[in-house]
C-alpha cells in the first residue's frame, strides 16, 4: 500500500525525467500521457495521493483533468500540482479556482519539485 504519485505529461522526456527525480527521492511513481489516461489510472490505482500534471496535452489537458477530478467525490480533495510551460494569467487563475495546489514552470530544479511534493505530502498526512 505504498502511496504513489501520478505524473501526467504527453512528453516522454518530461515523464522520464520527473519519474527519475521522484523515484530518487524515494517516491513511487506511475505515469499517464494525458488527462484521459490519468483519470483511468486514478480509478485503477487507489494509492495515488498526489498528481503532477502538465496543462497543454492532446485529448484532455490538465485543467480539464482538474475539473473532472473535482466532480468525483473520491478525487475532490486530491492535491494537484500543475507543471507547465504555459504562464498565461487566465490559465493560472483558472487552475487556482479549481483548487490546484501549485503552478510550476518547466523546467524547474529537481530539489524544488521534491521539496514541494514533500511539503504537500506532509500537509496531507497532517
Amino acid at each position: 500500500m505504498d502511496p504513489k504519485i501520478l505524473v501526467v505529461d504527453d512528453s516522454m522526456v518530461v515523464r522520464t525525467h520527473l519519474k527519475r527525480t521522484l523515484v530518487a527521492a524515494g517516491f513511487e511513481v506511475i505515469e499517464a500521457v494525458d488527462g484521459v489516461q490519468a483519470l483511468e489510472k486514478l480509478t485503477e490505482e487507489p494509492n495515488v495521493i498526489l498528481v503532477v500534471s502538465d496543462v497543454n496535452m492532446p485529448r484532455m489537458g490538465g485543467l480539464e483533468l482538474l475539473e473532472r477530478m473535482r466532480q468525483v467525490e473520491a478525487l475532490r480533495e486530491m492535491p494537484v500540482l500543475m507543471l507547465t510551460t504555459e504562464a498565461q494569467i487566465e490559465l493560472v487563475k483558472r487552475a487556482k479556482e479549481l483548487g490546484a495546489k501549485g503552478w510550476m514552470i518547466k523546467p524547474l530544479k529537481a530539489e524544488l519539485l521534491v521539496a514541494t511534493v514533500r511539503k504537500l505530502m506532509a500537509a496531507k498526512a497532517a
Binding site: D10, S11, M12, V13, V14, T16, H17, R20, T21, A24, A25, V33, V55, N56, M57, P58, R59, M60, G61, G62, L63, E64, T85, A87, Q88, I89, E90, L91, V92, K93, R94, A95, K96, E97, A100, K101, G102, W103, M104, I105, K106, P107, L108, K109, A110, E111, L112, V114, T116, K119, L120
Partner: protein, 574 residues
C-alpha cells in the same frame, strides 16, 4: 539531483524526431495551401514541445531556436497573420538545424553549438520583429507578457498559486482558460513503440533460422522417418508451422512504413525545385507500404538522387512546358507498393523524358560505347546506369552530391533488387526499383542440378513441366537451345554450364523436368535433376571471394542444414 540519465537523452531524441517530422510536414503542407487554425496550432504545439522538453535537459541552444520559431508562429496563431514564404523558408531552415541537433544529442548527448545557431536565431528574431511591428498586430506580442509572468512565477514561492492582480471578468477568463487540445483528439489512439537495437533483432532472426534447422533435424531425423509414427508426424507438423510463423513475424518486426522517408522526399523536391526555379509538385502514393528498415535506410540516398534527377533533367521549365501545352507545374509521383514478395518503389515524372540521342552521344564521348555500334533502345537507356556516365562535375552542379545512377543501381542490387528505367521522349520517365520484401527469409523452390542445390525465389517460378519431344529448337545462328512454350521460345540455361563446366554428362534434355522462371529480360528454362520442394530458406550473404559467384543472391540455408545457392534470376541471362 538534476542529473540527466541515458533514458532521458534517448527519450528526447526519439520524441524530438517525431515532433520535428510533424513540424516539417506541417510546413510543407502550408507551402502548398494556406493553413487553417488547427494546422497552425499543431505547428505551434510542436515547437512548444521542443522548447519545453529541451529545457529539461538544459539544451539551451536547441531550446532557444525552438523558442524563436515558436514566437514567429505565434504571430499566425494569435494574430491571424499569414504564414508567408520567407517565414516558411526560415522555419524549414530551423527544422534542418534542429534535426542536426537531435543527431548530435543521439551521438554525443550534447547541445547544438550556440555560436553556430545564433545567426539563424537572429534572423528569425528579426523576421519576428519586422512582422510584429506591422499594423496587423496591435496588441503587445504575447511572449513579452509570457516572460514577465515567468519571472514572477519562478521567483515566487511555488507552493501557493501566486496571486496575480489582473482585471477582467472571471467568466471570460474561464472560457479562455480552456486548455488547447489537439482537436479531433478524442478518437486519436496512440500506438506505443519500443525502441530496439537493430542488432538484437538480427541476432534473434539468426537464432530463429537456426531454430528452423534444428527443428528439421529432429522432425526429419532418419530414426523417425522410417517408422509409422502418426502422432509424431502431426506434432512435428505443428512444430514446423510454429517455427515458421516465428520466422515470419520476426521478419515483420523489421518492417517499417515508407512514410517518413517519403516525407523527407517532399523536402528534397521542394529544394531542388527552388534551386532550379521550376514549379514541381510531388505526389506520394502508398506511403503506408512497409519495407525492411535496413532497406529503408539504404535507399534514401538513391531515392534523393533519382528525385533530383527528375527535377533537374526531367521537368522542363515553365516556359517550355507552356510551349508544349503541359500544365505549368511539373508533376512527380513517388509510389510504393507490394507486388508478390517484392516491394516496388517508383518515381515517375511528366517531364521531357530521356533524350536518346544525347545519351548516346555522351556515352560515345565517355568511351562507353564504340562509335560504330548501334545500340538498341534498351541498351541506350542502360548507359545511364554505367559508372562514369555522369562525371563528378555534373553531379556536383546539378544533383548536389556524389551519387550517380550507377550508385543507385549498385545499392538496389546489393539489396537483391533491380532498377528499371522507362522513358518516353516528351512525356516523361519512370524509374522503378524492385526489391525483395524481406532480406532474411525467402520462400523458395529448391532444385538440384548435377551435384548442386539451388534456391529459386518462388515468385519467379511460373511453370514446371517435362520436356516433350519436338518442343526443342536450336537457334541456327548461335547454337543456343530454345524451348517452345506455347507460342514463345524460351532459352534453356544449364546451371552447371553457367559456372563454366563443359561436361555434358547426363545432359539429355528430352524427358527432363524444366523449371521456367521469369526474369527482367524474359523467361528462361532451367533443366533440373530433382525438385526438392518449396520451403522457407534463410538467406545469408556471400562474403569475400564467394561474393563473386555469378547470379547468386546469397547462400540459402535449407531445412536439412544443406546449403543451396540462392539464385538471382535476373542475372541468369548474363
Amino acid at each position: 539531483m538534476n542529473l540527466i540519465g541515458e533514458e532521458e537523452w534517448a527519450a528526447f531524441a526519439e520524441e524530438a524526431d517525431t515532433v520535428i517530422r510533424e513540424i516539417e510536414e506541417a510546413l510543407l503542407g502550408m507551402e502548398r495551401r494556406a493553413p487553417n487554425a488547427e494546422e497552425i496550432n499543431a505547428l505551434y504545439r510542436g515547437l512548444h514541445t521542443l522548447k519545453g522538453t529541451s529545457s529539461f535537459l538544459s539544451l539551451d541552444s536547441f531550446g532557444h531556436l525552438a523558442h524563436v520559431c515558436e514566437d514567429l508562429v505565434s504571430l499566425a496563431r494569435d494574430h491571424g497573420m499569414a504564414v508567408d514564404a520567407p517565414m516558411l523558408t526560415l522555419l524549414l531552415e530551423a527544422v534542418d538545424v534542429l534535426r542536426q541537433g537531435v543527431e548530435r544529442i543521439r551521438i554525443e548527448s550534447a547541445d547544438l553549438d550556440a555560436k553556430a545557431v545564433e545567426p539563424l536565431c537572429q534572423r528569425i528574431t528579426v523576421a519576428f520583429r519586422a512582422r510584429r511591428g506591422s499594423p496587423a498586430v496591435a496588441a503587445p506580442a504575447p511572449h513579452e507578457v509570457h516572460e514577465v509572468v515567468e519571472v514572477a512565477l519562478t521567483e515566487a514561492e511555488v507552493f501557493e498559486v501566486p496571486a496575480i492582480e489582473d482585471g477582467g471578468d472571471a467568466g471570460a477568463s474561464a472560457a479562455e482558460a480552456r486548455p488547447r487540445t489537439r482537436d479531433g483528439g478524442a478518437a486519436e489512439a496512440r500506438t506505443e513503440y519500443l525502441r530496439i537495437d537493430g542488432a538484437k533483432v538480427s541476432a534473434l532472426m539468426d537464432l530463429a533460422g537456426e531454430l528452423g534447422l534444428a527443428c528439421s533435424a529432429v522432425t526429419r531425423h532418419p530414426d523417425v522417418a522410417s517408422g509409422d509414427l502418426e502422432g509424431f508426424a502431426s506434432a512435428a507438423h505443428r512444430l514446423e508451422l510454429l517455427v515458421r510463423s516465428i520466422q515470419t513475424d520476426l521478419s515483420a518486426l523489421r518492417l517499417v512504413p515508407v512514410a517518413p522517408l517519403f516525407q523527407r522526399m517532399q523536402r528534397v523536391v521542394r529544394d531542388a525545385a527552388l534551386r532550379t526555379g521550376k514549379e514541381v509538385e510531388l505526389q506520394v502514393v502508398g506511403e503506408d507500404t512497409e519495407v525492411d528498415k535496413v532497406m529503408l535506410d539504404q535507399i534514401q540516398d538513391p531515392l534523393v538522387h533519382v528525385l533530383r534527377n527528375a527535377v533537374d533533367h526531367g521537368i522542363e521549365d515553365a516556359d517550355e512546358r507552356a510551349r508544349l501545352g503541359k500544365p505549368a507545374c511539373g508533376r512527380i509521383v513517388l509510389s510504393a507498393s507490394h507486388q508478390g514478395g517484392e516491394v516496388v518503389i517508383g518515381v515517375r515524372d511528366d517531364g521531357r523524358g530521356v533524350d536518346r540521342a544525347r545519351v548516346l552521344a555522351k556515352a560515345r564521348e565517355r568511351g562507353l560505347c564504340p562509335p560504330s555500334a548501334a545500340p538498341s533502345d534498351a541498351e541506350i537507356l542502360d548507359f545511364v546506369f554505367l559508372p562514369g556516365f555522369s562525371t563528378k562535375k555534373e553531379v556536383d552542379e546539378l544533383s548536389g552530391r556524389g551519387v550517380g545512377m550507377d550508385v543507385v543501381r549498385t545499392t538496389v542490387e546489393s539489396l537483391r533488387g533491380h532498377v528499371h528505367l522507362a522513358s518516353r521522349q516528351g512525356a516523361g520517365s519512370q524509374v522503378k526499383m524492385t526489391m525483395p520484401l524481406t532480406l532474411a527469409f525467402v520462400d523458395a523452390m529448391v532444385i538440384r542440378e548435377g551435384e548442386r542445390l539451388f534456391a529459386l525465389p518462388i515468385e519467379k517460378v511460373f511453370e514446371v513441366s517435362k520436356i516433350e519431344r519436338g518442343r526443342l529448337v536450336t537457334n541456327s545462328a548461335d547454337g543456343h537451345v530454345l524451348l517452345r512454350v506455347r507460342d514463345t521460345s524460351v532459352p534453356v540455361v544449364w546451371l552447371h554450364r553457367f559456372w563454366g563446366e563443359k561436361s555434358d554428362v547426363g545432359c539429355e534434355l528430352e524427358g527432363r523436368v524444366v523449371v521456367l522462371v521469369q526474369t527482367l529480360r524474359g523467361a528462361v528454362a532451367l533443366p533440373v535433376d530433382e525438385l526438392i520442394g518449396n520451403q522457407q530458406v534463410m538467406l545469408k550473404p556471400l562474403r569475400g571471394l564467394l561474393s563473386t559467384i555469378r547470379a547468386a543472391a546469397g547462400c540459402g540455408m535449407l531445412r536439412t542444414g544443406d546449403v543451396a545457392i540462392a539464385l538471382d534470376c535476373d542475372k541468369l541471362h548474363d
